[in-house]
């Protein structure tokens, strides 16, 4: 139950104010969380976030407070880095937060920095967020004039700066160690772990570092302001709070919607998004977490599932970053596998062999299948390649690239059968229907 609370991240909707303006944000409780945090000890702030049940919103769902507590307080230099490299197909929630509620994100950055003892923080934005990066720079300057960032913030004795950094078109920089490399001016390729970013030797400039997603950090001011209990009361047992759900593809009203984790796919996709895009076709498939999550048939069982971490696991998928790509019955799922594979092939950084070679061969064989020149063995071949990539790469991209193959074949075998013949011979290219056919 959410009680009177409708939105946390898109709170401006409830108070009907323009939170992209500092004064408006402050008028409606903005920076109350920071004020409260600065009167607490850093350990108390970490406990508050731990008790709220907040989990990482970038996809992995790791408990945020626990992540913060890994930072060794004895080290003199520590960093907080915000991952705003939003690049996964179907994900566009962080952009909305930064466009409409930038100060809540920046307030959260300062609270996080105070909790872990960081004096400098970086917001790493994907390069394509060019305009947004410059907008955030303006917001930071506005905060500086109001003594909300920089030296001796609000006269508390706490000093911290926030800098933005623009990437330059590499999905892999959303992987935290690749992001840190990129920020250091190196190739955006993942690092071998351990050491982990939180450890000395593993973070930014080898210092202990926390990397959090935009949405995760943007929850923090509300949690500190209203209290962990209030937050924990929203959502489900293992999925506290609200989530920004991005809906794209075949629905009538795509967009970003903030809902508690108790909401079902039906409430979102049918009641809010208006159901299937065309009256001709019903729902067929759903990718609930962008291109990388397991694809499932969008049937009644899935529609009646709550969009939480624990409930989605029960129907064989994940909620991850909650990037819902909806497909209707007109879609050939083999084509979906091919599209997503092209993405991962392009974005594979090339550092480790299974991913670099695997994505290349998956794409090549899928092209053959899509051209009508594949056979049944090709389907087994890509499944074999995918299974041999999963779990043995340096970072999760290898796994992400394997998922679309493994789950499209598993959950939509008929779509592949249409493209490949059993006798080992290729299916002839589909003739273009003559007029009148």
């Amino acid at each position: 139950m959410m009680g009177d609370v409708k939105h946390i991240l898109l709170r401006w909707k409830d108070v009907n104010a323009d939170f992209s303006k500092l004064e408006e944000y402050r008028k409606h409780g903005g920076f109350e969380g920071l004020k409260k945090a600065l009167a607490m000890t850093p350990a108390q702030v970490i406990d508050e976030v731990k008790n709220s049940g907040l989990r990482g919103r970038g996809g992995a769902g790791f408990p945020t407070g626990v992540k913060w507590s890994f930072i060794p307080q004895s080290e003199p230099v520590k960093y907080l880095v915000v991952n705003a490299d939003e690049s996964e197909t179907g994900t566009f929630k962080d952009r909305l937060i930064m466009e409409t509620n930038p100060y809540q994100l920046l307030e959260g950055v300062l609270i996080g920095a105070y909790a872990i003892g960081a004096k400098a923080t970086y917001v790493y934005l994907r390069g394509e967020f060019w305009d947004l990066g410059h907008f955030l720079d303006e917001c930071i300057e506005n905060m500086r004039k109001a003594n909300l960032v920089g030296d001796n913030i609000m006269g508390s004795g706490f000093s911290c700066d926030i800098f933005t950094h623009l990437g330059a078109g590499a999905y892999i920089c959303g992987e935290e160690t690749a992001l840190l490399n990129s920020l250091e001016g190196k190739l955006g390729q993942p690092r071998v772990r351990p050491p982990f970013p939180a450890n000395k030797g593993g973070g930014l400039y080898s210092e202990p570092t926390v990397v959090n997603n935009v949405e995760t950090i943007a929850n923090v001011p509300w949690i500190v302001w209203k209290g962990a209990g209030e937050y924990k009361a929203i959502g489900t047992e293992q999925s506290a709070g609200t989530k920004l759900y991005c809906v794209s593809g075949h629905v009538k009203r795509p967009g970003v919607y903030e809902l508690p984790f108790t909401a079902t796919f039906r409430e979102l996709l049918v009641d809010i998004c208006g159901g299937p895009l065309s009256d001709e076709y019903g729902f067929k498939a759903l990718l609930p977490s962008g291109g990388s999550g397991p694809i499932v048939a969008l049937n009644d069982q899935v529609l009646d599932t709550r969009m939480s971490y624990e409930d989605t696991a029960k129907v064989g998928t994940i909620i991850g970053s909650a990037s819902l790509i909806v497909m209707d019955e007109s879609v050939d799922v083999t084509w979906v596998a091919s599209k997503i594979t092209k993405f991962f092939k392009h974005e594979s950084c090339g550092k480790c062999t299974p991913c670099r070679e695997g994505t290349y061969w998956l794409d090549k064989v899928l092209d053959r299948i899509m051209a009508g020149e594949g056979n049944e063995n090709d389907v087994k071949l890509i499944e074999n390649v995918a299974k041999n990539m999963a779990g043995i790469t340096l970072c999760a991209l290898g796994e992400f690239a394997a998922n679309p193959i493994i789950y499209t074949i598993k959950n939509f075998p008929d779509d592949f059968k249409k493209h490949a013949k059993k006798d080992g011979k290729a299916v002839a290219k589909q003739p273009v229907a003559a007029a009148g056919d």
Binding site: F129, F163, G185
Partner: protein
């Protein structure tokens, strides 16, 4: 042409170098400045950035080669990158991308004969609800369709044609002013 010693960039270069404890971290923002000055990442730009960041030019070149937003060849005045990833493709982006290339009579990654437009596809731009959409010189063009209406490709194409005309006019006016 230069970025070092160029008054236009001095303040920005210093600000970027001051942001990080290590000069090397400024390589990405400074490469953007080099691209702004020269139109692409050329040898002069690489040498200057290397000097500013205290790096070897080969290292700078490896960075510019790794990231897709640094261009290693000249582009048209308007660099149009159409997102045709899955989410956009479900709402007609492939057809739109194909149409745009035909409309401007260019191959994938090619530039129009008048040097005005380069068209290529790009990976997800995080605007999936606005499909079909594109970026022009890193600025989003995401108002071709209304997300609350059934995507109408013909409307989107008509709107895109208006934008192309506007850019052509702008370029002509700019050229006239210059001469």
């Amino acid at each position: 042409m230069a970025i070092i010693g160029n008054k236009k960039y001095q303040e920005r270069i210093s600000a970027h170098l001051a942001k990080y404890p290590d000069k090397r971290s400024a390589v990405m923002p400074l490469l953007y400045i080099a691209q702004e000055e020269y139109g692409w990442i050329n040898a002069e730009g690489v040498l200057e950035v290397a000097q500013l960041c205290d790096m070897d030019p080969t290292q700078v070149r490896s960075i510019s080669g790794f990231y897709t937003m640094y261009s290693e060849k000249t582009k048209g005045k308007y660099w149009l990158q159409v997102c045709n990833d899955l989410a956009c493709a479900l709402r007609g982006a492939d057809e739109f991308h194909h149409w745009l290339k035909e409309e401007l009579d260019v191959e994938e990654g090619g530039t129009t004969a008048d040097g005005l437009f380069t068209v290529e596809h790009v990976m997800c731009l995080a605007a999936c609800d606005k499909a079909p959409m594109l970026q022009c010189n890193f600025h989003f063009v995401d108002d071709l369709v209304d997300p609350n209406e059934t995507p109408d490709l013909e409307k989107a194409k008509a709107k895109m044609r208006e934008k192309l005309d506007k850019w052509r006019k702008e370029a002509t006016e700019y050229a006239n002013r210059k001469s």
